[in-house]
Amino acid sequence: MSGRKIGEVILDLKNISLSFGGVKALQDISFDVREHEVRAIIGPNGAGKSSMLNVINGVYRPQQGEIILRGEHFANMNSYKAAKAGLARTFQNIALFKGMSVLDNIMTGRNLKMKANMLLQAFWLGPAQREELEHRLKVEEIIDFLEIQHIRKTPVGRLPYGLQKRVDLARALAMEPQILLLDEPMAGMNVEEKQDMCRFILDVNDQFGTTVVLIEHDMGVVMDISDRVVVLDYGKKIGDGTPDEVRANPDVISAYLGASH
């Protein structure tokens, strides 16, 4: 696609199984993610895509399986550890801080990068103040990058859906993550908004070298922007490969394409 070079395996998921009571959400799923690639997880409704993302992010703890991030085993992953390890995510149902302005929302993404002691921050003292300004510069870069300068001061609750999704992405980018997890970034958007979002995802991947793992419903979009695609159905992996390979896979055609078209 572009000049970036896909590297070694950065995230390796081995034999992940997750169940809620009797419901088997994920069954023995393994796949890996390579550095700098755009990796998609697709599948029909209820296939376990969101569960998979929530396992990677530490929201759910799988009953079985291993998460290996940059060679390090994470037995008890949780959201906070995931964030510290360089994973950022967006949410399907947008989980922005509704009462806060766009700028404040994105600034929260800098929290882990802030070195100053929370006590100093609380009193807005010397080093904390300097630091705040540095982070503000970085955040302004991201705001420019995602073209949301005009809504900087608006409380996010008042923004239209498409823009909220963009702010959600901005907050994740403010963490300067190594791996960006996107939960249906294009869901509920119109064609124009979808095109914008695709462009942003590719730009992030290209310019910052961020590895992207995304879940998406819209097959067309996924096939266009992904390097490799995992296909889930009823909690099982039924396909894995390049978009062309996946498209030609008979299991995938019957489970996903066949069912919906």
Partner: protein, 309 residues
Amino acid sequence: MSFFLETLLGGLMSGMLYSLVALGFVLIYKASGVFNFAQGAMVLFAALSMARFSEWIPEWLGMDNLFVANVLAFVVSIVVMFAVAWLVERLVLRHLVNQEAATLLMATLGIAYFLDGVGQAIFGSDIYKIDVGMPKEPVMVLESVFDGGILINKEDFVAAFISAMLVLALTIFFQKTATGRALRAVADDHQAAQSIGIPLDRIWVIVWCVAGITALVAGVIWGSKLGAQFSLSTVALRALPVVILGGLTSVPGAILGGLIIGVGEKLSEVYLGHYVGGGIEIWFAYMLALVFLLFRPQGLFGEKIIDRV
């Protein structure tokens, strides 16, 4: 007219104190979804600590300066309240994450009784004096405007001023600092806050510390009026209707709710008291809270309660 103003001012001033205690409830509820029944016990604990340390410190250091003793006792009491906050998070809350609201409420009830007991075990169970040099004598103001002027209780005035300053400081803290921003983020959405790397446990310690400071200030003000004694922990329960009125999730609601209740209590007592036999002050706030629960359960500014069917 001057009598009405006098009553109104008196109400506003006692209302400011209610706001302060209500703020303690709201802060903790917003950040952790815990309705902290122990807020009253914290007020008592803080007041006892202040009263006793201002007595002990001069003894220990062999000095006789009331001002220095008070400042030292205040600082020590802040440390004590921070320690309480830290222990509550470490020993109780941390182990109850994601439990039902009722479980957490019961836990804070437990903390309340524990604090009441331990407070009296450490500090004693008498009535102790807190003397921070609050002016006791009332003054007349605006004598040129109204016939006879308006009688103001200086102590109430100073107390209201201190409360207002603390509320202002907290507002600035929440709106302008990085820590405040993280607190607001947690209050808004736990899951999202955690996923961007805001440590929930540390945030909880911070809100309990802040609630501890509001408890200390309320304890000192009330304590200097009534003495540091067991009944302080029930005085704090008078802030409950304030929280219901203002909404559990709203800081401005807590402030305005406190003022409304303060004024309502005084005005109803003075103007309706002789029709129903007095003592309205005691139950007026709860009555108002009940009416609100019937018609606007989320309070004046609380988030609308929407349940998915």
